[in-house]
Symmetry: none
Subunit: 411 residues, 2 copies
């Protein structure tokens, strides 16, 4: 079975925006054994969108539209689909009521144009949106399925997973598709590929994909077989070879993020963690606390951006700062010890570095980062010279510090 994905919105036809919903949807569809054969981005023009929908539906059994379901005149997706497949739209007062309730809960009043969102194509199934006002719609027409989903990624993902997956499961021919995900850190993407390509290149099934972002690499193996045991056996055989090559650079086998993996290790040890951040300035704490339930092990910490803050908040000896500079092994270790002392956490992780774009006279070069880790048995540290711009250096530094913690929690 084939699918086509149409992203709607003139803002995605500018030189700076890409449609990322289609990447998520492609992954989900591929998991069901459905191939995506054409993707479109269409501006807010009803007639042009309608002719695009007609073309897509003439090629493929599944057509997914994202975006253009909002309350404004610019939002033309409902009207375009109604035109393309010649269906009437019917006003559903109960949907208007739900939207009004949602506004009421936020202490706001619904303006009249939100009522546009309560029109549903005749014969369509309503896909409830628990994260926004625009409901989605699922329409079957001449043996084809057409879906309208909201544009904001968190709304689209929740709706697709809760409403569309099970419906698609009923119409897509059954295949056993199983996926194995290794999450890896502490090496570059090309190094990883160089190591594992000799294994995965031998197999068309499972299909292997390598994704890298800010020092975090995912290796996805997708096996398609007639039965689930066959697919799992294939994954175990090929996955086992890859696992042997990557060793402890694999930090999770279930899709969990690095912060969730480290959090789970802390929880099992009944340990707590505090942070002291200079170069990342909140980026590490933000990641640790993004995990639901992080309050079980995350105490909090210190953002010591100014040089004096390191002394005042963490008690770092000013002479140390003077002698070694703020970006140094000595200061990273003193920050970690200070944060641990002042919070009574089991572990304290400290970062100091220079993310650029400029470097002061007394500072380390742009991209230099030191990491300190204080624990019940003392303090250790490491450092690394990163390349790239400010956001990249900060993201890599947070990633590396979490990996440093992980490796020292296991040992």
């Amino acid at each position: 079975m084939n699918a086509e994905i149409i992203a709607v919105g003139s803002e995605m036809l500018t030189p700076s925006r890409v449609d990322t919903n289609s990447l998520y949807l492609t992954g989900q569809l591929n998991n069901l054994g459905v191939e995506v054969v054409v993707k479109y981005v269409v501006g807010d023009d009803r007639d042009r969108l309608a002719s695009t929908i007609r073309l897509a539906a003439s090629h493929s059994e599944i057509v997914i539209l994202s975006g253009g379901l909002g309350p404004t005149e610019d939002d033309v997706t409902r009207d375009a689909l109604a035109l393309a497949i010649e269906r009437r739209q019917i006003f559903h007062p109960e949907i208007a009521e739900q939207i009004e309730q949602r506004f009421y809960k936020m202490g706001r009043r619904m303006v009249d144009n939100n009522k546009r969102q309560a029109f549903i194509l005749e014969g369509a199934e309503i896909l409830p949106n628990d994260r926004g006002t625009a409901p989605g719609q699922w329409v079957e027409d001449s043996g084809r399925v057409l879906m309208m989903l909201p544009g904001p990624p968190h709304e689209l993902k929740a709706m697709f997973e809760r409403q569309c997956l099970s419906r698609l499961g009923r119409i897509v021919p059954r295949q056993a598709i199983e996926t194995l995900i290794f999450r890896v850190t502490g090496m570059g993407e090309s190094d990883l590929d160089h190591i594992i390509a000799p294994v995965y290149k031998k197999y068309a099934n499972p299909a292997t994909t390598v994704l890298a972002h800010n020092g975090d690499i995912q290796v996805h193996l997708r096996a398609r077989c007639n039965t689930k045991p066959e697919a799992l056996a294939l994954l175990a055989a090929v996955g086992g070879q890859i696992e042997a090559l990557l060793g402890d650079r694999i930090y999770s086998r279930n899709g969990d993020s690095l912060e969730a993996t480290v959090g789970e290790m802390l929880r099992k040890q009944r340990a707590t963690i505090a942070v002291a951040e200079s170069v990342t300035a909140g980026g590490l704490a933000d990641r640790i606390s993004s995990v639901a339930g992080a309050s079980d092990y995350f105490v909090g910490g210190f953002i010591t951006y100014a040089r004096t803050a390191k002394t005042e908040m963490l008690g770092v000896d000013p002479e140390l700062l003077q002698r070694y500079g703020p970006v140094s092994k000595e200061v990273a270790e003193a920050m970690a010890l200070g944060a641990r002392r002042r919070t009574n956490a089991t572990y304290a992780l400290a970062l100091t570095g220079n993310a650029g774009p400029t470097t002061d006279g007394d500072q380390a070069p742009v991209g230099m980062v030191y990491i300190g880790l204080a624990s019940p048995t003392g303090v250790i540290s490491t450092h690394r010279q990163f390349l790239g711009d400010r956001p990249r250096i900060r993201a890599f530094a947070a990633q590396m510090s979490l990996d440093f913690l992980r490796r020292n929690l296991t040992s």
Copy 2:
């Protein structure tokens, strides 16, 4: 004049690849005053591509194809375009000769299927490729222009700039294009649209686009006129009306982010800022410090995730926590005062709230956030009930706290 861009290649229909050539081409076309109205990614299927080309040519005067010009059977762009506009292809021995020479220079022998690249549509102009083997083609057909360009970005860019820009200059009417961006916060997207739509709907020129993300809204006005002064005057006239309606909810007129805008205000006042974060746990500090040069005004701060951390790090009275709960006006204000006292910053901004997914007995409901701001003149606070999931609540809370700071820096 309108354009459509078709990227060809099944490898761009995977969950991890985006077509970036179209972003470059969109920027180049916009500079000429040409709008991109649809973008496509089509796999290596001749008939499907031919029908896509026909649809694109029925909408727009300019159609640009990228990729699929290689030597293999998978490369179907030439055949698809020939089919779509019903032109014969003619073998050009001199092109085959050039390709053979190119291989010879690299010390390699040309394999026979490279000859496929020497077929040119009848009546097409050849666009030489000095960075690869595949020549491009420029075809005019029924008042439309269709271009075939190579897929590798460095080949495509060089060919577009050297061969296509001057040809397009002859057929595209000369225009001046100017853009005005308002960045707005403190209101919902539909409320904003309700207020400004009566103005912008009156004008097809400038074209107005509204983009919203995590409580941050951008209003883009793009004017196309014969001369630059005319375009600027039009933007001033329409932009002025929108500005009057939005008032101080506009925080920047030059594209600057909220954190950059607030940072600039602090720098001008020679003031410094510290933070005390509970619910956002680093997300606010991460945004403030993401601005290059933030060390001029950002001191740092405290992440007080655990209840005891509020007392130990910020000196919040345990009785206050007991009586009002950690998510309260009283605690937000005490956190701000504590952070200011312990850092000597001019201002301290504090956040406490519940991002969910669960709520403890003594806690406020999921989504409730209190913000405290301590300054030389005392302490003030505000609160808000947000809806949505954990990442959304945290992002909105950080946004709202920056806006609270902004409004109190101006007054």
